[in-house]
Symmetry: C2
């Protein structure tokens, strides 16, 4: 088997007690900075330091089309995928203003969009194919394409790391990819499919019912071997598999991974089926309204930072939460100690 492997370790736990001690000596009642303290401990553990930093953050948007959209599983037409890529490149999309606000460098990757961009500048061409196959009838992604996606996703992250990045987030643009996410979710969590399927970009309840009935049929038609890689390939999207590869590479490089909404949460779930330790590098930005998102977060015992009703994708839920992660790092580095500030400790 030639596929890429990763060397992902759990962060050493010895440092946790030292991080807690440092935080407990900052001028505040014990535990009174709540989630910021938890984040500081996690990031300090990942970086194995009492003075963690966030350097050169990147946000990667992977774009891909999905053969299953031929069945009408999405409210939005597939033509929106390439249209939005142009919008990303122009800087006019939701993810753009958030990345600008937080000084996060963006990369837009064509993982497999059904459109000829003809060498569009600012778009990284990693196109595997012009959209996946329709998994109502066949595997969406071949085994060779799967390997390619993991490798290419990993390569993007490696490049960021070499540029000095130690925190990275991922987003997606791919009409139809909530469907793929629901399929992965039901297969990996055993949560019934109907609880994993939601409105996507705008279905009403009738639309969700139609989407569910198509996905149910696709699940019944699936005759694969049930292995992780088979499930990932059969129902996967190119952009989602590149995100999986990117997450695994980020964990191998001890980078903090900031997770977006429903789709990226299912990508980290998928990644964890290959390498469970990847979860220790993940911070969850946002819990969206998409049916199933809360369920998969609960399954992962993940506590998202925000609950803002975002359902745009692109990574907006991750990038919107970035300053909160930054706050945690600033806390542990910048706050004074009781001793230094001459504040009575039993505050």
């Amino acid at each position: 088997m030639s596929h890429k492997t990763f060397n992902i370790k759990s962060p050493e736990k010895e440092i946790v007690a030292h991080l807690v001690e440092k935080i407990d000596n900052l001028t505040k009642p014990k535990g009174s900075l709540g989630r910021l303290e938890e984040l500081a401990i996690q990031i300090g553990s990942i970086q194995q330091t009492l003075t963690p930093t966030l350097t050169h953050p990147f946000h990667i948007v992977f774009g891909g089309d999905h053969g299953i959209t031929a069945e009408g599983v999405s409210y939005s037409p597939a033509e929106v995928t390439p249209q939005m890529v142009f919008n990303f490149v122009e800087g006019g999309a939701g993810i753009n203003f958030l990345a600008r606000q937080h000084h996060i460098e963006m990369k837009i990757v064509d993982s497999g969009i059904n459109y000829d961009f003809n060498g569009l500048e600012q778009l990284i061409d990693m196109k595997v194919r012009k959209g996946t196959r329709n998994y109502l009838h066949e595997a969406a992604v071949t085994r060779e394409e799967f390997d390619l996606c993991i490798e290419r996703g990993a390569q993007v992250v490696k490049d960021c790391h070499e540029a000095g990045c130690n925190i990275i987030s991922f987003g997606e643009m791919g009409i139809g990819n909530t469907s793929s996410s629901s399929m992965w979710m039901t297969c990996f969590t055993q949560i019934p499919l109907d609880l994993c399927v939601g409105a996507g970009s705008g279905f009403d309840s009738e639309g969700v019912k139609r989407k569910y009935s198509i996905l149910k049929q696709a699940l019944e038609n699936y005759k694969g071997d049930g292995s992780v890689i088979d499930i990932l390939s059969y129902f996967g999207g190119y952009e989602m598999l590149m995100a999986v590869g990117g997450m695994l590479q980020a964990a191998e490089l001890n980078m903090v991974i900031l997770i977006d909404g429903f789709i990226m949460t299912n990508c980290i779930l998928a990644a964890s089926r290959l390498y469970p330790e990847v979860l220790e590098y993940a911070i969850y930005g946002h819990q969206g309204d998409e049916a199933g998102h809360k369920l998969v977060l609960d399954y992962l015992e993940a506590k998202p930072l925000l609950n803002f009703g975002l359902r745009l994708g692109e990574g907006t839920g991750a990038v919107c939460a970035y300053p909160l992660v930054d706050s945690a790092v600033r806390m542990i580095n910048e706050m004074s100690t009781f001793k230094k500030a001459s504040v009575t400790k039993y505050f």
Copy 2:
């Protein structure tokens, strides 16, 4: 009656439909930026513009001591109030790193701290008295002091506004002020006192019980006329009343008011008993763990942006949430429209 009055109006509602129309034409599924869209509509309404901005944000920390601490209602000793003021001025407290992170200018106000700062630079001296009286036995604040607090709090905000500020947040430092907040809360909401009393900076359940029994006695001892100003004065703190005055002044000047945790939520509740329209200018940064905070937020039908387990005070819950408010404003100004970006509208 000579006390200061404010001219606070509800923002005109005509603009809301135009704000909604603008937001619905941005390149995203309708409603898919959730809370950011709600914030943009609120801020656009306050500023009566389709291109709202946030300019020169200020954060004001009012400090004051409380006579009731003589009864042991607080886990932390009262000496911590002035100690922390020195920490604020040195830049080592929790609120400092957050304000630096978000480029928010801070002002520290001595509203009534029981300490001689001897003209400490960077501390605005508005001291009314060295701590309030003990409301177990008498009114904490006189009617003259009440007027002074409202005027001085308003003056601080006026100064910020003149410096170009259109969004402001408030925090406090005052050992004992969760007790005053609980008293205001029970009086104004009729929620039973035991549900309004919590751990403050660190009481265990026995400590909370002792605190409750003292506050219950104080409530029984109260023989005032039950008017808003009488309740505010009797149980109030100087720092809290200055925050009330500041909030009212901010609303009069059409400024966005970013509300912190339990204490500041009770200050906006108090302010709304004087001028109900003030609530339309408020954005709630954080729901803390202090017992009663969720109840008073629910009472105000307020939806806090964060739920981060913060219980530090100082305004950390407001300032930590600032970038989320900033995101909302950037969204409405920076995102492209369907037409401009040539994206199919039914996305």
